[in-house]
């Protein structure tokens, strides 16, 4: 009896903290290998390379928690980076203004997504998938499917500069957004409304929450964060290309769910999403350190996605049957 309850609580812990356990497991395994994994440089590098996806994930988390989802982020990511670079190159525009226009573009896409999903009540994932396709085509048209580079050196310093010695600005920006997003989700009325809407749309509406506004706003924020991520990515690589965002949208949405944000809405949070993304970040870094071939890397990522999503829905099935 006692042993049974112990097993049960262990099972519950595993099913709740899958992502944390996966990350810890990888970190422990890397202790036994002879690599440069545990060097300050590598740890910063790991954060640096996951930062773009993390910023995307924060926006996606908000839409997912309020019961939507956004697969157009890959398209927004590439187009906004290209827009910023083209504006700086072709029109000699001030960098700040160019970034602002990119952000407005992202917000505009989010606004259209929100209109179609919230106001017109369409299926979010397919409509945003179509939006992503359109934007990827637009990115190809804008660049002729060739990468474009920025002439202005200062643009690359946005991501690669180091305000804090040893740490790229990109990581700092990511951490600032993490804190703000977490604060908004946890401690403001707006954030709590998102949870309410994701939990039960109708109940939230009858409770006096302006459901249309809040859910619509999550799409606008998500689009804007995706545009910001796109600008930072172009700044980091000093190039904008239509191929960067190919699988980004699905990976990020997957990672958010892997971290413990329920796709049904209403459950999860920013830290969980960050953890889910770190699973992939740490995994990739560790495999690079161990010289794993690229096909094996893709295979492992696929297996991790299938295993964790499988566990997620299995635990929900068990819960359903208990009720």
């Amino acid at each position: 009896m006692n042993r049974n309850t112990l097993l049960q609580s262990a099972g519950k812990l595993i099913s709740k903290q899958k992502a944390l356990i996966a990350v810890l497991l990888m970190l422990i395994l890397m202790l036994f290998t002879q690599t440069n994994f545990y060097t300050p440089f590598n740890i910063v590098d790991m954060l640096n390379s996951s930062s773009i996806l993390l910023i995307l994930a924060f926006g996606v988390t908000m839409t997912v928690i309020s019961g939507g989802c956004d697969l157009s982020i890959g398209g927004v990511l590439v187009v906004s980076g290209i827009i910023a670079i083209r504006l700086i190159n072709d029109l000699n525009m001030n960098i700040g203004l160019a970034i602002l226009i990119s952000l407005i573009f992202g917000a505009g896409v989010g606004f259209i997504n929100g209109f179609l999903v919230v106001q017109q009540k369409t299926e979010p994932f397919i409509i945003t998938l179509g939006m992503g396709m359109t934007l990827t085509g637009l990115a190809q048209q804008l660049t002729n499917a060739r990468p474009v580079t920025c002439d202005n050196e200062a643009f690359t310093m946005i991501s690669n500069g180091k305000i804090i010695p040893g740490v790229n600005n990109l990581v700092v920006i990511m951490l600032v957004i993490l804190v703000i997003a977490h604060y908004v989700m946890r401690y403001t009325q707006f954030g709590r409304s998102m949870y309410a809407i994701g939990g039960d749309y109708e109940v939230a509406r009858y409770s006096g929450i302006n459901v249309v506004f809040v859910k619509w706003a999550t799409f606008v924020i998500c689009g804007m964060l995706a545009a910001l991520a796109g600008v930072l990515l172009s700044s980091k690589l000093n190039s904008g290309s239509s191929i960067y965002g190919e699988t980004t949208a699905l990976i990020v949405n997957c990672a958010v769910v892997v971290g413990g944000v329920s796709f049904a809405g209403g459950v999860g949070g920013i830290p969980q999403a960050a953890l889910g993304l770190l699973v992939f970040g740490v995994l990739q870094n560790a495999m690079n350190m161990l010289n794993v071939q690229s096909f094996a890397q893709i295979l492992t990522q696929g297996l991790v996605i299938v295993a964790i999503i499988w566990l997620d829905s299995y635990s929900r099935k068990v819960k359903r049957e208990r009720v």
Partner: protein
């Protein structure tokens, strides 16, 4: 009498999709006026020839969507089948290689359904992520088999006449790939409207609980859906590499979204339970004609992607506004 009713049913089901039909007719008319080359025999054969890979994959996707699920693993399975079949032509001969290719498709599809059923994943979102993971896994195997290289027919020592026939052979004016597609379409239409399994799939998409309580085999229909999708993907893959005479491990990229596009534009609702392969025929026809017309009019392939995405968004929007 019976015949008459069937024809009436057929016409009403077409007229329910009058939007797509009007779009197709308008497209043909405009292009005919602007570009007379559109009606040439050469262009017609060209259009017929394109009823190959994408249309077959979309037929499979139709059943998945009618059943209320989604299948992104199509991209990975497509690449895997291409690579496996071409690399097996030399060791075991062309016919066994083709059979193995089709079996790979079916097995991958069954694996999808096994993962979904064993975890009790019944929503579209869960299916989306699990099949996306499967797409990565199968794609990784495709990369592993070729080592990232592209396989060419010209490097093969064995006989591959069968594949050449599928890729570029014709019977009269009609390419063999069009004939394969037509046969598949007729069989699947019969399967969907006249067999118990076909009706079960529709009911599964409409209301799973009701289907289960009626005593229908919901699990069986889910397995059928994914096996069918895998099989038709494999058939589409064989069509594709037969035509291009090369097989690369990333060949299937984009097929999943394009197939969903074709199905949804045709008028099959994503909510599940409603739709038919005839609608998908219409959707693929629109997409093929559109890309042909845009090519003739000299629109860049990038702008074609933009129009495709925009049409998908608008089609879903309009579909959503229709009263159910």
């Amino acid at each position: 009498m019976n015949m008459k009713v069937d024809i009436k049913k057929f016409t009403t089901s077409i007229f329910r999709d009058y939007l797509v039909l009007v779009a197709i007719l308008a497209l043909i008319l405009v292009t005919m006026v602007v570009e007379p080359r559109f009606m040439s025999t050469q262009n017609m054969t060209n259009i017929f020839r394109q009823f190959g890979p994408l249309s077959l994959v979309s037929l499979g996707m139709t059943f998945v969507i009618i059943g209320g699920f989604i299948d992104l693993s199509v991209a990975g399975i497509f690449s895997l089948v291409c690579v496996v079949t071409v690399s097996l032509i030399d060791p075991i001969g062309q016919v066994p290689a083709m059979i193995v290719g089709l079996l790979v498709g079916i097995v991958c599809g069954l694996l999808n359904s096994f993962l979904l059923l064993s975890s009790g994943a019944l929503t579209q979102a869960e299916a989306l992520f699990i099949t996306f993971g499967m797409s990565m896994i199968t794609g990784a195997f495709a990369l592993f088999i070729t080592g990232g290289m592209v396989l060419n027919f010209s490097d093969l020592a064995g006989n591959f006449a069968l594949f050449t026939a599928i890729g570029s052979g014709t019977v009269g004016l009609f390419p063999i790939s069009l004939i394969i597609f037509s046969v598949a379409l007729v069989i699947l239409h019969f399967f969907q409207s006249k067999t118990i399994m076909g009706r079960t799939i529709c009911l599964t998409g409409g209301n799973k609980t009701a289907a289960r309580l009626t005593g229908l085999s919901v699990n069986g229909s889910i397995m059928m859906i994914y096996a069918l999708s895998g099989f038709l993907t494999a058939l589409g893959a064989i069509n594709q590499f037969s035509r291009t005479t090369t097989a690369s491990p990333t060949m299937g990229k984009g097929f999943e979204t394009n197939a969903i596009l074709a199905v949804v534009v045709g008028g099959t609702t994503l909510k599940g339970g409603k739709g038919s392969v005839l609608r998908t025929l219409m959707g693929t026809m629109l997409i093929i004609l559109m890309s042909n017309c845009l090519n003739l009019l000299g629109v860049s392939s990038f702008m074609q992607n933009v129009t495709k995405g925009a049409i998908l968004v608008i089609a879903i929007w309009l579909d959503n506004r229709k009263p159910l």
